[in-house]
């Protein structure tokens, strides 16, 4: 991020949280704009053209979901939502409305910065890799081939598609509904059990220890995320 200063808009009503987010983000070399409610946030988003919006879901003046919907009417800017732990439903609703990722309060700096990097990188244009590696696994998108420890891994079409969707969003959470819709089709959005079984099989085929996966992570109550740790490629 240091190569080019990213503009981050923080929409959060609590002053203390805004203050520490500002300090942390500026430490990362970002330029930070603040808004303390949705109305102000939408104005700031229009005038500052941020590269990332951090949005607290519990704002006093309006529903955060509405804010996301309004913003999504005219911009694809990544949105990172902040929310309390007990509100999984709200998080899923926000993610399905168009938010890109979430953090659960109270969150650690390391998590915040990791999410930030993923979202800012993903926003960088013209970057479609033909091949992705993680651990000992290599995925060749052009030839639809998957290798592990140098050996070819047989995946069913659905397994491959599931892996491809997760990898296309790597580092970012993908909700259960989004996965079911993209891999199985719109009529399967309520059939979460398919996802459990196929994720289980993918882990058997790609992870060293399927019960304690390193890459194919479960975000309980929300969805899944493929995380590729730095320096793991």
């Amino acid at each position: 991020m240091s190569e080019q200063r990213a503009n981050v808009l923080v929409v959060e009503d609590e002053k203390q949280i805004r203050r520490f987010l500002k300090t942390a983000l500026e430490g990362e070399g970002c330029r930070v704009f603040e808004a303390e409610n949705c109305t102000q946030g939408l104005i700031e988003a229009g005038t500052r053209k941020p590269d990332l919006v951090i949005l607290d879901l519990g704002l006093p003046d309006r529903d955060g979901i509405e804010f996301i919907r309004d913003l999504r009417n005219w911009t694809r800017v990544p949105i990172l939502i902040l929310s309390a732990r007990s509100d999984e439903c709200d998080k899923v609703a926000a993610l399905d409305t168009g938010a890109d990722d979430y953090l659960t309060k109270p969150f650690g700096m390391a998590e915040l910065l990791a999410r930030l990097r993923v979202l800012l990188r993903r926003n960088a244009p013209g970057e479609i890799e033909p091949e992705i590696s993680f651990g000992t696994v290599r995925v060749d998108f052009s030839r639809r081939l998957v290798w592990r420890d140098g050996l070819n891994v047989r995946l069913t079409p659905l397994e491959y598609r599931l892996l491809a969707v997760l990898l296309a969003n790597r580092g970012k959470v993908v909700t259960q509904r989004q996965l079911l819709r993209e891999v199985w089709g719109p009529s399967f959005v309520e059939s979460g059990h398919y996802l459990r079984i196929y994720i289980g099989r993918l882990r058997q085929k790609l992870e060293q220890d399927a019960t304690r996966p390193r890459y194919l992570l479960t975000e309980t109550g929300i969805g899944y995320r493929i995380e590729i740790p730095k320096g793991d490629v």
């Binding site: 309390a84 999984e88 659905l158 059990h193 459990r196």
Partner: protein
């Protein structure tokens, strides 16, 4: 116009006959005897109309006698010169008796209709009052007033409480009730009467208050004066009144139930808004504290760096405990709604271990699950909490080099999951105290925590229709076992194997 005493009515009818005779006497020379007979018939008709059938019969005979004595030759004698007058007497008597009977019948019917109308009016008035009643006391008052006015009887209502025990309303009423007779009336679903206790201040008749959904109590009555006859005569009326009272009570019952539901719903709303406000207010400073500490830790030099790290760890710990407290509060408030889905047990164990990654710091965990384990329906977030709390407890109370074992077995439609450690185990005899709020396995402990974790686990597992127990393993170490029902997982349509990606 309606003399009440029977004797008086006969006396008046007698007088009417004589009055007619006195009035007709001066006209004796002018009027034809047939017309005088007509005057007497008129008198009988009037008597029948106003005094009833008995006096009419009497007056018929008296009139015939007077007619003979004063108006038929020879005067002032009951003897008759002309034998054809016997025909006149006979016709006169028959006509008088018949018209008298007819008129009296008509009158009786009018009287009955009037009484019926009055009764309907009274019942209607009572129904209207009952519809407006908002408390049981009002219903009692309305019932007593109605029965007092309509049949001159005293009444007491016997109403059941939550445990079906009957209580008299009004509690200090002048009329006492025999509770066992009331129970009998409820049980038989028909009125019960008792003659032995007449005049002793006890109710004589017990009418069950039958409403559409259930019997709502008993109406016990006794006439102010007299005996059961008064009640028997008015039985229809009393039964109608009893069913009106029953419907009134039932309506009150449902109004109360609706009000209670409304009240508890608003209390619930208040509680949940308090909880989320509390949750927000507690988490905000913690988030700021933790974030600030971390920022400091990242930017400062070595010595202040350590301090900042300590600050961060304490903030993280505090926020964990606040999380537990809030969770327990939500459970106690009954606010937790299960979002059950078909889940893979190994996946939830995996995600719990991932969440605890830093707390576990490389500790060895053994997981052994049966290969036949299917998907299980549960709320993944909550069961993840159970695993987190159990594994975290094990790491807190056991030396870091020991293993934590997680295993599952399938027994009789349940999956039994064990989390076992190799520490000191629970203090003997205190195994089940650990699940109570603020209960901890050891009395004094240097390990931080409130003892909320296991109480939360129990609340979660029991919400899933499962059970949880604590104990010590024969070879040492604490064992927590919890079970969840297995259920039948939904079908999954398999792909055909042919179009495998990258088939080799």
């Amino acid at each position: 116009m309606r003399p009440s005493s029977t004797l008086l009515r006969y006396a008046i009818s007698f007088a009417v006959c004589f009055l007619t005779a006195v009035l007709a006497l001066p006209l004796r020379g002018w009027l034809d005897t047939a017309n005088v007979a007509m005057l007497f018939l008129l008198a009988v008709l009037l008597v029948a109309r106003y005094l009833g059938s008995g006096p009419a019969v009497l007056s018929a005979f008296v009139c015939v006698g007077l007619f003979d004595y004063f108006f038929v030759l020879p005067y002032l004698s009951l003897t008759v010169e002309d034998a054809q007058y016997f025909v006149t007497f006979a016709v006169m008597l028959v006509t008088a008796l018949t018209t008298g009977a007819l008129t009296a019948n008509l009158r009786r019917e009018i009287d009955t209709a009037c009484a019926r109308e009055q009764r309907s009016r009274a019942l209607y008035g009572m129904a209207r009052d009952l519809a407006g009643a908002v408390a049981v006391e009002q219903v009692v008052e309305i019932t007593r007033r109605f029965l007092g006015e309509a049949i001159a009887a005293d009444a007491t209502l016997l109403l059941p409480d939550a445990s079906e025990k009957l209580h008299p309303f009004p509690a200090d009423g002048s009329l006492r009730a025999e509770t066992h007779l009331a129970y009998m009336a409820i049980k038989n679903e028909k009125p019960v009467e008792c003659t032995q206790i007449s005049g002793s201040g006890y109710a004589l008749s017990y009418f069950p208050l039958r409403a559409p959904t259930r019997t709502r109590g008993v109406l016990a009555i006794a006439p102010f004066q007299g005996d059961l006859e008064v009640i028997r005569e008015q039985r229809d009326l009393i039964e109608t009144a009893a069913s009106l009272v029953a419907i009134g009570l039932e309506r009150l019952h449902y109004v109360e139930a609706a009000q209670r539901a409304e009240l508890s719903a608003s209390a619930e709303r208040l509680r949940s808004s308090l909880l989320s406000a509390l949750s927000h207010d507690l988490r905000t400073p913690l988030t700021a504290l933790r974030g600030t500490a971390e920022t400091l830790a990242l930017t400062l030099g070595d010595s202040p760096h350590e301090l900042a790290e300590a600050l961060r760890d304490q903030a993280a710990h505090l926020s964990h405990m606040v999380g537990n407290l809030l969770d327990m509060a939500r459970f106690q408030a009954g606010k937790v709604v299960l979002r059950k889905e078909w889940q893979a047990l190994d996946e939830v164990i995996g995600s719990s271990l991932k969440l605890l990654e830093s707390a576990l710091s490389g500790r060895k965990i053994d997981i052994s699950l049966p290969p036949t384990l299917t998907l299980i329906e549960f709320d993944a977030i909550l069961i993840e909490r159970v695993f987190c709390n159990l594994i975290e407890n094990s790491t807190k109370y056991t030396p870091p080099e020991t293993t934590i074992e997680i295993s599952a077995v399938l027994i009789q439609g349940m999956v039994e999951i064990q989390v076992r450690d190799h520490g000191q185990g629970f203090a003997a005899g205190r195994e089940n105290e650990v699940f109570t709020l603020f209960g901890r396995g050891a009395t004094e402990s240097s390990v931080p925590g409130f003892g909320l974790g296991l109480a939360i686990c129990r609340a979660i597992v029991e919400a899933h229709d499962g059970w949880i127990t604590a104990g010590n393993h024969p070879q040492g170490g604490a064992v927590i076992t919890f079970a969840l029902p297995m259920g039948t997982p939904p079908e999954v349509t398999e792909e055909t194997d042919e179009n495998m990606v990258a088939a080799t």
